[in-house]
Subunit: 334 residues, 2 copies
């Protein structure tokens, strides 16, 4: 575990909302945390491996928070967690394969009892979306649609400066919109033709396999990889001039565009922000051209697609800033 | 033109927001209007044919409003118009084929100058959505998605009790989300594979034509209709037991479901409300089953799909109620 102190210049102890919050990003393999103020990290991030079992996870988070409390007065704690969260109660209401047994954990209640700090819990995609939008000072807008391209596709929506969570904490399941008919490709969720079955990293590999079937190693070295074919192998091959890999990459951009076109016609957002590991592999100029070309002119002409500025830190920044903004609102005269 | 008086019992002249507003629904062929209070009509609707040219249309609306003013004190005027509207200024910013020359009309300004009544202008799909949601007392919800199935598909979104209009007054162009790949069917907008090219009335006819190609009049009397094939002919034939027509109806329900599945995964709405002329032809039980079946369980299990209660009056009710609610908000202490 690395540990760094927070500079005292970033802390104004006279105004509660000028004190940093700790943002925590809880994933299946690691828990990361940092102090956050003004939509920025104001400490080095710390990280520990995710232990097994809810009790151990909660204790690990408490220990991380304790490390920050040694150095400064904190205003609150924001947690970005995998799974579905009831943000009113701070309870995990939907499970995730990466954190067995996590559903049902009253996380906010458990943390507040131990740390005495106001705590806010949200889904990791929502927190990342909030981080991306607030770091770009895009909160004073009608709609920001943040799309996380990774192994799957997730997303978060900021509408009128607030996270939009849907009626049953299930908004933003954008990876599972259908972009094709005919049950052509099975998604890991059990449905067919979901956006993420085409547009996520896993989708790129599936598209490349479709193209490779019937080709031989004489035509592209990708054939020899067989089951070892990865997104990185495809991206590297395309950059090296392999035309088969380039065709897979073109199709992959078409598939990403299809989902963005749907979001654009429903939401007419001020901007899209693309984040997640696979964002690094996107040709943003090509993607913008494709999306604009497939939108009604009045929807496409104003369309903005940004690449994430925060990368892997978006969840931490968003979780921290969510609790800061929530405290600031509570201080408004009612 | 029919004309009826407003009962004085529906008017409380001591409280401005207890006075009715006039809701006006401006379409390509007719202008309809009625007095609205508490999300209900409180007069018989009146209608006139839509004259040609913006000046004549505005005068016709003023004349209609004058008819209501004879009978009661009005609090304001709400206009539901085809085309894209800047709701801040009440100007028509995007044209529609049905109202040539309408774009650029500063409608709110022109009406307020003549009637001296506070006026609010919105897109007809938005107004209809507001009417449907407010008449069902669904404004205190996270998200209501109203889908208008007619010749095309339109829609309106109510998010946190307010109409969501998008960043550039273009939100809710839901008819143009893509539900298929491969440029299979051209939409009237010039794009391919739009939802409305499959799920609207026009889409049902196109689907039936696809099925009919290669069949003969011995197999279904629909073949003999040729270019005269209509949605009503297909719906009637299906109800009479024609299996070809029934297959077209099944596909049409699948196509409607595809778009609703996408909206559900993005928005997780409290409810869908289906309105428009083609809503009459929908088997709501079948549609609900299809949508639920194609959603993630946590999205599908809470899904509600209502059929419109207001039918063709939704735009009038919504336009009237929008101006009433806007006046009520202005009376809140700031």
């Amino acid at each position: 575990m690395t540990e760094k102190t927070i500079t005292s210049s970033s802390v104004d102890s006279f105004v509660k909302t000028r004190m940093p919050a700790v943002g925590v990003d809880l994933g299946g393999t690691k828990i990361r945390a940092a102090a956050v103020l003004d939509s920025k990290l104001v400490s080095e991030p710390m990280q520990v491996a995710t232990p097994s079992g809810p009790e151990n996870i909660v204790q690990a988070i408490i220990d991380l928070i304790g490390n920050f409390q040694k150095d400064c007065v904190l205003s609150g704690v924001g947690i970005a967690t995998a799974g579905i969260v009831n943000c009113d109660t701070g309870e995990i209401v939907g499970s995730t394969g990466n954190l067995p047994g996590w559903a049902g954990t009253p996380l906010k209640q458990m943390l507040e009892a131990k740390t005495m700090l106001p705590t806010l819990v949200d889904n990791d995609a929502n927190a990342a979306a909030y981080g991306e939008a607030s770091a770009r000072e895009l909160m004073n807008t009608s709609c920001i649609s943040v799309v996380t391209l990774g192994t799957g596709i997730g997303g978060g929506l900021i509408i009128n400066g607030k996270l939009f969570r849907g009626a049953h904490w299930g908004g933003g399941e954008i990876g599972h919109i259908r972009i094709s008919m005919g049950n052509k490709r099975l998604c890991t969720c059990g449905l067919f033709d979901c956006w993420e079955a085409y547009g996520a990293g896993r989708g790129l590999v599936a598209t490349a396999r479709d193209i490779l079937s019937g080709l031989s190693s004489n035509q592209t070295p990708l054939c020899a990889l067989g089951e070892k074919l990865t997104t990185y192998a495809i991206v590297d091959a395309a950059r090296s001039g392999d035309i088969v890999a380039q065709r897979a990459m073109d199709s992959w951009h078409e598939h990403i565009a299809a989902g963005l076109v749907n979001l654009a016609h429903i939401l007419d957002p001020d901007a899209f922000i693309i984040t997640g590991g696979m964002a690094e592999c996107v040709d943003f100029s090509l993607l913008h051209e494709m999306v604009t070309d497939r939108c009604l002119p009045r929807v496409g002409e104003n369309l903005m697609i940004h690449k994430s500025n925060l990368g892997g830190m978006a969840g931490i920044v968003g979780a921290g800033q969510l609790v800061l903004d929530s405290l600031a609102e509570k201080q408004l005269p009612t």
